[in-house]
Structures are given as structure tokens and as C-alpha cells.
Amino acid sequence: MTINRRSPVLRAACIAFLAFIVLILTGEVAFGAPQEAPGDGDYRTMPFVGSRVFMWVVAELHLMFAAFVLAVPMFALVIEYIGYKTGDKRFDELAYDFTKLLSVSFSFTATLGALLTFGLIILYPALTDYLVKIFSWTFLPYVLLFFFEAIFLYSYYYGWGKFSPRVHLFLGLMLNIVGTAIMFIANAWLTFMNTPNGIDELGNLTSVWDAINNYIWMPINIHRLIANVAFGGAIGAAYGAYKFLGAKTDQERAHYDWMGYIGNFIAICALLPLPFAGYWLGVEIYAYDQSLGITLMGGTFSWLFIIQAVLIGNLFLAANYYLWLSMGRIAGAERYRRFIKYLLALITICFIVWATPHSLVATVEEARAMGGSHHPILNVLGVMSAKNTAVNLLILTTYVSFLLYRRANKEATVSWAKMGNLIQFSIFAVVVIFVVFLGVYGYFVDAQTRIGLSQPQVMSVLFAMVAVTVIDIFLFKNARKRGEIAWGKIPGRAQYALFFLAITFTWLMGLMGYVRAGMRQHWHVYGVIRDTSVDAYTPTLGFAGLVVSVTVIIFFLFLAIVFFLSGLSGKKNWAPKSPPPPEATTTEPLPDAEPATEPEKEPEVAGLPNPLASLLRFIRKKS
């Protein structure tokens, strides 16, 4: 029986969770004891791990779940809308599949948020007191919005199919608006700690609005909004991969393969504009305080950006890899296989350029041979011009992979097919040459002009992507199909690539969260409230990496619980162990209850739609 087979998992999960609760409780009990150092009431200590690491992990976990809870409604709503407009039921089901993950995640977010608040109050009373003083009334709308978030979230989830589509879409829209507003308020608190504003020299409040609208509030809002979508897409894809690997029937495999594909598609689309949002954030940090900016980009943290380069290089590599493997499910994709090695070579070169540090780690002998701490050739790769060029080409390469995937089973029938291909190719060639030219040109001009060059680089890449897409749409109008997309026909390692993406996204989020908080160095509120605790030092990157790794592992453990609980809703009702009565009250026949030999419903397996294509089709039909 299902429940029996699963019960060890449930028990293990319960025990793990209980152990966690006990850990927290013992922690709380320990706080109760008067542990503070005499005369120092600003801090209490967390046993075993220390206050900072505890808050660090809890805050990061809270943030990860919050990001997921905010992101899923965004694309669930869009997918639902596409389903509503095109009348394709499968989109509706997909949106519901994503939404199923929400309710448990929402509770986890709230619980972790409460834990974070308790931690702040108990471990950092003085700092908390100050922040509460500054942001006094903003906590009220926050709580109110949280109520509304709960109402809209549960009505959106439980009301699936219960309301008219328009009402339901409206609920989804409200859920998104409320969620975004919650994030904006919370962002005000934390950005204030980085770039305090609206206070006088003594730290007394002069204007709450100025404190909220500090230098990096808006950049962080936008950056997080986009990053949340990327992160949510990646986790959604991981859920699809998890279900795919455990699927028993081809039909299930097809559905979850499709879900993973869509999640990955969302993640990569959201990843592409992130560097520009990050650039804006960086500029604002410099505008606030130059030494804060240099601490971030030029000091110890400069090595953190090498780690970041490794992570992002891996993201691009894995995303392309997944697309290449995906081509295996399309008849006719063999034609494009030979391009893979060139795309891979380009990605590898860009990856190498991006990960090349400016100051090298070298032994004395090596430094002597190089004539200093800079290598005469490698040096060229370590600066901004090279890295901007590399990231633009990485984006373009990923786009080409996607383009090849898109046209894998199509053959253009329009009369100008040859011409169209030629034009597309010329656009690519011109843009690549232009981007590389600007990159090289950057070495021969002064810094001010060099910074200005990144804009035409980005614009030309965007232009290439838009122009080629437009041509492609017309080129493959009424295209002859070589075969259908056989969803579900994909090797398991492609699903592991999706996991790899999800883990890498999560790790990246943890790392960037660390640098955002870490650049304050020995300040709680930069320049206003000094950190005088034992944890005031900035730890080594290796230590930070360990904390991030542990956080990621805990997050995935939690996620396993979320996935498991979300799967319960579709499970069969429990029944005694005797042979199940035929009138078992399941709403739909469940795959793992059916014998595997049952004939499957083949027709729905093939040809699951691409959301973008469906939307385009719909728009074309309209116009």
C-alpha cells in the first residue's frame, strides 16, 4: 500500500523536523540563562554555532523560501493566463502543478521569518531596537499585507477551478501585487542597513520615507524581483525533474519533462537581464559611498566575484547542456548536432575569460617569472572590457542553442528561406564582430569611455536576439514538420542538469546574499551602528562558502519535505491493507496505483506546447 511504503520517509522527515525543533528549543532555553558578558547587553550568544552563523543561515533560508513563494505566483499566473487565452487545458494543469508547491512553502517562509525575528530580538536586542525605532509604523502594513498574502494565496490555490477564470486570474494578480509589496517593505529594512538614509549624524530618524527610499532600495527591489523569477523557475524545474525521475508511466514522464523544460526556460530568461540590474545596484552603492563600493569590488571581496564567475559559467554551461540533451527528444535535431562542439568551445572560452582573476595567486618563483603579480598576457583577460565581452557572447551562445532547439524539427517552406538564414547569420556575425571590437577597443580608451562601451555591447546583443527571433517566426511560418517532440524521451542526466542548475542558483543566491550583508564589514548599520560583538570580523571566503553550502543542503532538505507534502494531495485515500475495494474514492486514476502494464494514453504524450509559441500563435490569430 502506498502509505505503508512511504511511511519510513514520513517518519524520517518527522524525526528530522523534530530534531530541528528541539535544537531550536534548546537554543532558546540556553538564551534564557543569563549568558551575556557583564556590562554588555547588546548581544546574547547562540551556543554551538554562534549568533552570526545562526542568523545568517536562518535569514538565508527564510529568503530562499520567500523568493520561491514570491516567484511561483508570477509565472503561474502568466502560464494560467496563456492557458486561459489559448484554451489549452495543459497550461492550466501546469500552472496548478507549480501552485501546489506554494502552500507548504508559504508556511515554511512564515515560520522561518518568525525564527528570524525571534533570533534578532534575542541575539541582537540593541540592533533590533534601533531598527524598530527607525521603521516603527512600517511593520503594521507588513503584517496586514501578510494577512492578505495568506488570503489570496490560499484562495488562489484552493480556488483552482472553483471560480470563473477571470476571478481566479484576478486573485492571482492580487497575490502577486501583495507579495511584491511585502518584499519591498522588507527590502527597505535591510537596504537601510547597507546605505542608511533619512537619519541625522546621531542616527536619529529624520524621515521614514528617506530611510525607506535609500540609495539601493529600488535597485535591490528590481534585482530581487528578477532573481526570484530565475530562482523560482529553477526550483520548479527541479520539482519537474524529481517527479520525472520517480515517474512510473510515459504520460507522467512526458508531463514532468515538459514542466522541467518550462521551468528551465523561465529561469534562463530571467537570468539574462540580471547582470544589468546588478550593474545598476553597483553604481548606486558607489554613489552612496565610494569606499563601500571599493570594499565590494576591489578589496577582499574581489575574489568572491571569481567564485561568482565560476557559478555563473556553470549555469550557462548547464543550461546549454540541457538544451542539447533536450534536442534528443525531437526528430530532426540530428542535423544540428555538429554545431554543438563549436557552441561548447565558445562557451568554454568565455567561461575561462570570465573566471580569470585580475590579481593572480602565484608563488614567488612564478611572480618573478611574470615580472610582477600581473601576467603580461593574462592581464588582458582580467579587466572589465574582456569580461563584458565574454558575458555578452555567453548570452548570445545560449540564445543560439535555444534557436537550434526551436527549429530542430522544422523545415522552412517559405520561398525566401535561404535568404532568411543568410540574413540571420549576417546579423549574428556583425553583432559578434561589433561586440568583440568594442571589447578590444576598450583597452585603448580611458576609463570613462570604457564604461560607456558596455551599453552598445548589450544593446547590440539584445538587437540581435530580437531581430533574429522576428525573422525566425516568419521563416518557420507553415514550416514542414519532420516529427513531433517526444516529451519524456530524455535521459536522466538531463534531469540532473536541472538539479545542478537549481543547486547552483541556490548557492549563487546564498553567496550574493553574503556579499550584500558582508560588505558592511564591522557595521550593523553602515556608518551608524558598529558591530561590537565577537563576530565583528569579516570571515574568510572559505568559511562563507561552508556556511552557504550547509544552508543550501538544509534548504534542499526542506524542499524535499515540500515536494513530498505537495505530492500527497494527489495520493489515493488510505485504506486498510486488504485488497482495495473497486469503488475506491479517488478522483482520478493514479499512476502508481495502476499496474505498469496498463495501456497508456499515447496521444497526449507528444506535442506539449511551448508557452511562448502558443502565445505568439494566439497573438497572430488575434491580429
Partner: protein, 261 residues
Amino acid sequence: MKHALQIFGFTILVSAFYWYVSLWVPQKRTDPPEDIVISASLTTDEMIPIGEEIVAGKGTCLTCHTMGESGTGLRFPDLGNIGAIASERVAGQSDVDYLAESMYDPNAYVVEGFVAGMPNVSRPPVALTDQEILTVIAYLQSLGGTPTVTMDTPLQWQGQAPAPTAATAPDAPPDGATVFTTYACNTCHSLDGAAGAGPTLQGIGSRQTREEVTASIREPDAILVEGFAPGVMAATLNAFGFYDNVTDAEFEALLDYLMEQ
């Protein structure tokens, strides 16, 4: 179940890999800068170096004062020999009291030939604590004299809780004259034609347009009155946080005030 475990193993593997990457880069721990710890048990001799550090650092005293021959006595009196002459400045006032008064209530007595304008250093933006001021007195006494002050020396001004300055109070409409003194404009510029480190602003409203005055404040070095050094005004205004903190309303009030001159 098997694949769930496999996935979890994979998660650990990938996380461990990234941890390895973070160990591969140089490992540096950055400790916070050491605080000047002022404990009540300091001896007078120990107070001197701390006071010296505050004079050069947090106190920003050297923006205006000089210490002996190492600079040019431009704005405020040179302090190179202050320890020897402090007790003779004001009749009936001990050197400790005189130095303390000069910091808590600087304009009570102004050395002849100088313009009043030093801010109360126990208030923001400098905001020295009572203990810090004691160490500064010890240092100043040591310049040409023998320090007598201890950490326990009572001063009548001690215990004044620092309050936010009027200029940053949110409700009161800014007053140009207050802004003029808050950011220490009066330190260098007189309004009555007297000489100072900067040109006098007597009658500035009739000599220059509002735009010209705005430009001169925004970019002091763009047009210089002959005989005055570049960079001084920008540096001073920066030291008083003018460019960072002045609000539009304050700036307008300041302009109104200047145009009335």
C-alpha cells in the same frame, strides 16, 4: 525513494564542490579596526597619545588648527604651544577649564585676530564624548606644558546629552543664519567685511546673482577670488558634511540669507 536519495547525494556533492571552489581562492579574514578604548583607569600619561589620535582623527581639529610649525595658521589659532599659554588666556581660569571651555563652548572667548566660528565639539557632527575631550585636554596640556588632567577631573559642561542640531530637525523650516553657522561658513567668511580665511560676504547679495552664489557653493574652486587658496572651501564643507547632508530647503534658505546681505 532511491532517486530521492541519489538527488540528495548529488546536492551534497555539488555544494561540496562549490565549497572547494571557495577554498581555492585566497583566504583572508578582515578584523575590525581597533577601537581607541578609553577606560576610566587611564593614567594621565596614557591619555596623551589617545588625545593626539583624536585631534588628528575623529576630532577633525586639524582641519582648522595647526600644531606648531608643521602647517600654516590659516583659520584658527596655532596650538603648538597651547599647553604653556592656556592658563594665561583668561584671567582666573585654569588651563584645564580654559581648554574645556574652548571645546564645549568655543565662542565664549575668541583669541584676538580670529573670527568666532568653532563648533561645539561635543555635539555632532564631531560629537566627542566627555572622556575623549579629557584625553584631548591632556594632549593639549602636553604641548609646551605639563598635563595635570585625569580621567576623573570634573568639568562643568560634562553630561550635556548631545542633541540633534537644529538644521536636521524635520519640522522646523530651515533658517539661513543657522545653516550658515551649522556648516561653519562663518568660520572663514565674515559678513561685516572683516578679513578671514575666505573672502568676506559683506554685500554679496548686491554684488552677485543667486546663480553665481549657488555655483560658488556647489563648485568653490571654479572661480576663485584672487589671493585665496583653492580646495580649502570644498574640503571644509566636506569635513562638515555639507555636500552629503544639506537638504534642498536648507540650501535655499542659505541662499535667501546670503542674498539679503
